[in-house]
Symmetry: C2
Subunit: 329 residues, 2 copies
């Protein structure tokens, strides 16, 4: 289905999953290829955990805890070293990340390290004696590690059985996506928490939804995955490789439940019909990755189907892109 502006649902999914569909980790490059990415490698692990731009490699104030390989015979890479020699690898890696990111932040070589996100993100698939590897959220994009978000769509049914969806508008003063429509409750998953616990505290902070209600009725319904190429509007460096996993939840509520803004990230909540949400999607009023979460909701709830959407198959597969980084320990 296309809109008056000519956008389709598939266009919206592609705008989120914007990194070209090549096998990044297997991408061949020549000695002359100045654009080839550097793999982020961890001690004792040959799988890429992230991808860095050549410009990031050049500008980052690397310490002796990182070994950079430009050798064109294999993939280019930056490998984190382990000065503890296995005694406490996770701690060594985390300290190495912290030091180089602090130094980059102090010297202000990258724009996005001064964003107000003091928490860490987990490096997926890394596990040294059960200990986490993590780095500053605002630096995740520079290292191209896989980010994790949790998104919960809160909806209700009219007495006629029609679905209506609670849609927030982001505050106009936000640095990222000001004034755009969003998922009812959504947040980045901190290193130390699970997607489920993220939803619980975001439901309280962003929408004043009682913890007991959410714990009892929320349903895990899958993931949306994509690889974005960071662009203008996302608030940071351009052209970064950003693999992302959104853990998706549904919460059906009765007419007595009304989400209310609590922190200053949400301007207002609207209870929108499916038709209104469709129109807002195709007008590109939604934050890019929230459009993908809504389209996934439409697929799971039989609103977009094989018989009313010519791109149905490509939409569903593209909402579940295989990620180029290690995701399992």
């Amino acid at each position: 289905m296309s809109s008056p502006s000519g956008k389709t649902y598939l266009d919206l999914v592609k705008a989120c999953d914007s990194y070209p569909h090549i096998d990044i980790s297997q991408r061949p490059y020549s000695r002359d290829d100045q654009t080839a990415l550097y793999q982020l490698l961890l001690p004792g692990d040959s799988r890429p955990h992230g991808f860095l731009l050549p410009s990031t490699i050049q500008k980052m104030p690397w310490t002796s805890n990182f070994a950079i390989t430009h050798d064109p015979s294999g993939p280019r890479s930056v490998r984190v070293l382990d000065p503890s020699n296995g005694a406490d690898t996770a701690n060594s890696i985390n300290a190495a990340f912290k030091e180089v990111i602090q130094s980059a932040s102090d010297s202000r070589v990258f724009g996005n390290l001064i964003r107000p996100h003091p928490e860490d993100y987990k490096v997926l698939g890394a596990n040294y004696d059960g200990k986490r590897v993590q780095l500053l959220r605002a630096a995740a994009g520079l290292f191209g590690i896989c980010c994790r978000g949790a998104h919960m769509t809160v909806y209700t049914r009219t007495t006629a059985g029609e679905i209506k969806i609670w849609v927030p508008r982001r505050s106009r003063h936000l640095n990222t996506w000001p004034g755009k429509l969003d998922t009812t409750v959504a947040g980045g998953v901190r290193a130390e928490e699970s997607p489920f616990e993220c939803i619980i505290h975001e439901a309280d902070e962003e929408a004043s939804l009682p913890e007991e209600l959410v714990r009892k009725h929320v349903q895990s319904v899958g993931v949306v995955t994509y690889v974005a190429e960071s662009a203008a509007g996302s608030g940071g460096e351009l052209g970064l490789v950003v693999p992302d996993i959104l853990y998706v939840y549904d919460l059906e509520v009765g007419p007595d439940i009304t989400p209310k803004p609590q922190d200053d990230e949400v301007e207002a909540f609207y209870l929108m019909s499916v038709e209104e949400v469709k129109e807002a999607l195709l007008r590109e009023e939604f934050k890019t990755n929230c459009a993908s979460v809504m389209i996934d909701f439409f697929v799971r709830h039989g609103i977009l189907r094989d018989d009313n959407e010519p791109d149905f198959l490509e939409i569903v597969t593209r909402l579940h892109r295989t990620l180029p980084v290690a995701v399992r320990s």
Copy 2:
């Protein structure tokens, strides 16, 4: 989660999506590579619509309506020609397929052409003046075209809210997967019908479910996609590339509805708890692609989650593989 036999849900998904995860359509090959596949090309269309084994190319009694290219400078291919020169391309293609398949069937060079499936499958993404391209279902695997199935899981809830699933056992006399557990209602989608209409008639034929009930309450919930490599047990040639789309539907029913076998494909229906289905899955009692449909059901219904399944992410992305053939006209 792993079973006593050591199988995991991810193992089951991989057993269905068994073709190696390479970009088949871009696979490079050398002059010496005797295993490289041949692309199936249609008139005026550069996108592959299927993939054929070299042994199929060798054994098929090709007519003058097909042009085969062995040139190692580009992909190897078999292209259907259009003697009508655009006057009636779809008809020309369909007649060419029919003639060569009939000839192969008469000379019995392939085992699986004598299977009792007289209906045709549609060649996806092919559309000449709104007309379909189609070929005999039993020959779909030889040409490596994308097959379409429709699977509906029928379930009910106990008064305590616990999900119970209606699971059929396939008749012992079937050529394919005899005695295995199956999706409640499932069938191959014929060239001339939609996945939804397939579900409607299969629900009647396989489970005696009233058409009115199904039309009113069935919900389209997405697709499962995979590429299988045909193996022993599937009833035909070995090593074929089989891209497949399963259109997935859910139907929640009350305790008053009981599916009953009508045709001779189903031996019996069991109303199984989620625990019983889990055990049967991990014992490999389900037909391979029905296991994937059940695992997709578990994901969408919050039974398999990030917090209880270490392979959660890989399971969800792998259930939605991007297919190597054209799927959109």
